[in-house]
Symmetry: C2
Subunit: 443 residues, 2 copies
Amino acid sequence: MNPLDAVFNAKSVAVVGASQNPEKTGHIILRNIIDGGFGGEIYPINPKGEEILGARCYSTLSEVDGEIDVVVIVVPAKFVPGVMEEAGKKRVKGAVVISGGFSEIGNEELQEEVVRIAAEHGVRVIGPNCQGFNYTPNHLCASWPLVRKQGPIAVISQSGTVGATLEMWAEDDEIGISSFVALGNKCDVSETDLIEFFAEDPNTKVISLYIEGVKDGRVFMDTVTRARRKKPIVVLKPGKTHKGMRAVQSHTHSIAGKDEIFDAVCKQTGIVRANDITELYDYSKALGFLKKPAGNRLLIVTSSGGCGIIATDTAEEGGIDIVGLSDGLKKSLTEALPSQCVVQNPLDLTGDTPAERYKESVEIALAEGKIDAFLLIFGDPIPGACEVVKDLKSRTKKPIVVSYLGGGEIEREEGKRLHQNGTPVFQTPERAVRALCVLLSSL
Amino acid sequence: MNPLDAVFNAKSVAVVGASQNPEKTGHIILRNIIDGGFGGEIYPINPKGEEILGARCYSTLSEVDGEIDVVVIVVPAKFVPGVMEEAGKKRVKGAVVISGGFSEIGNEELQEEVVRIAAEHGVRVIGPNCQGFNYTPNHLCASWPLVRKQGPIAVISQSGTVGATLEMWAEDDEIGISSFVALGNKCDVSETDLIEFFAEDPNTKVISLYIEGVKDGRVFMDTVTRARRKKPIVVLKPGKTHKGMRAVQSHTHSIAGKDEIFDAVCKQTGIVRANDITELYDYSKALGFLKKPAGNRLLIVTSSGGCGIIATDTAEEGGIDIVGLSDGLKKSLTEALPSQCVVQNPLDLTGDTPAERYKESVEIALAEGKIDAFLLIFGDPIPGACEVVKDLKSRTKKPIVVSYLGGGEIEREEGKRLHQNGTPVFQTPERAVRALCVLLSSL
């Protein structure tokens, strides 16, 4: 059993520095744990001993009778060693140090003291100077914002904002996440510990990583090589430019290292490298939902001629084959479809198409068997898109990716339903195709 | 006066083929004209002569007593010449032919007949085979979807879906558009006619173009050269790859032409070329709101260290200088800001910053005078962002761009208010910086 299992699947949590003031982090985290629906014991710790959010408050950790699996620490830095000592004595499994004021501002010694105490007692430490963690399968949001929706993506991030952004996009889209873990100063638990955990975690399908540097290159390489046999990993790592590297230095004191070397590591280990936050999300979504297609032959079915062309350009540039239709397939489609449809690849069903026509077209192409993946572009408010894709998915294992745009309220509704049903939807054809390219090039 | 002025600023509109059936285009367009708040006369035309949406219906155009400026035609292709004849006799200024069934499916002759009749009577024709037009200053949405919000962007699009997508994003963001015109088969009114009109239109600040080909290269070049003296133009033109070009052929029968030549035309005339729909929107937004900065020295002020690094990388790659802070500026900032702030460029105000601290920082930098533009990154729910930017804008004409992410409901609210206030907001720091790069390289 991975030692972090006891942390993520904790049965009891204490928040040291819980506060009655709704603007304080010690209040927000406690509230998110409660509102997130955590089913275990919750112990707010505050020297004043008052009741917070309806929960009985304890003045110290030692005062708690029951076992405590995880301690979330939100008190000022100088008090953290003392709290860690107490936590150790209570035999907690993990401590999440939210508080800043350690190595990031030059207080290396204080951080080392915390690490030493934790190690003596076998306590694993996340942070310090971090945004906590959220593990939706255990309804444990010891972090902010409160994101409840469970989904395939585990986000590991050295930036609270980048992680929170991914969480919120995934929640808005009704995709959800399995987890978000903020790395902070990585005094103990590092990206590799987490990659190892999520590689085995049955609730996670893809690991989505924002890092500014790696602790130990060799360990990183070994870990991801093993993890990649289980799950896809997507990474965003800035610090490519000289000034970007310098900014990394002052943010997390990481060594960004030569970007060419990191890039080579990604290629060798099969990590997908995202170029920006949007790609990190898009690629995680595609890899979290779909398997690699058997080949690179894509059929585009669209209600918008323009979007079909845009998708074609993007695909051709990315090594996807917008394969010509065989005479047989052309004949079957021409017979089945109304005369205004343009029977080519992209297959243009034209603006007034009902969703049903997509189904018919894909079924005919499936029968011929020469297409490896499908991109369906709904370029208007076309109700029933989700039902059609659901039907098709019951007939084929080949990847189906959707782009839905220009569809207003119906687009939003269908998009969410498609995500709930495990089909990735993208706001533009370019984003859909780029995600498909990544799917294709994944190991 | 541009002859299209009488069309966009029409005082009366007829919809030929108006329908009682809410699913028909002839119903949707009539409803959008009514619901859009058009202040002029509205004449639904339908041979059955029934009342539609509370408006009296006429059986033919000739039956209408008053003048008609614009006729929207939604009847089957074969009836269009007859309607055009009638429209000509009524001395309408413009006809918008929504109906398909012309050159796009090989019916060149029918289309030529329509053009001939229109020309005889001096009627300008938009379309056929198009999604109509929307001109918000005149509250005239002879198109779909219904988009009412008035804003700086004029969208000219050979794809209904691409145009509608831009309209809807602009409405969602509370930016709005001045116009959307669908080009369709361009039998008469072409992109150059429209560019000419919008270059002079006082309600338009930027022209946003999706085209698959140009009618006449020389005319295009001359027109945009003139228009560019007045306004920025952003263009998305697919058909870069061989298969993309072929898809253009079957969509609008345009000749995509060699992409290198079009690219050279853009560079020579100062048209900004977007690589995808997202860029088309982002660049239009930036150019619609902001003037070119005096130089390329950018100060990044951020609550998220990670996002600051990402922005730095993107800026450096795009030719923006993340200029080092002078000793004087460093000193002033250090004195003014709390100790946890990282006084560098990017200036990291750290996670718990109030909006007020952004104002203070930018004011100090303004006093020194060595920064040309500002990127403010709000990487958390930070209320008051809009007020701060508003204050700053009253003190400086230097461009201020905002990226807001990880902020949930507060982000959405502040984003809309910032847009209403004329500040472009981007969902990620990369998108913000790329838009800044375009602003900088604009003529």
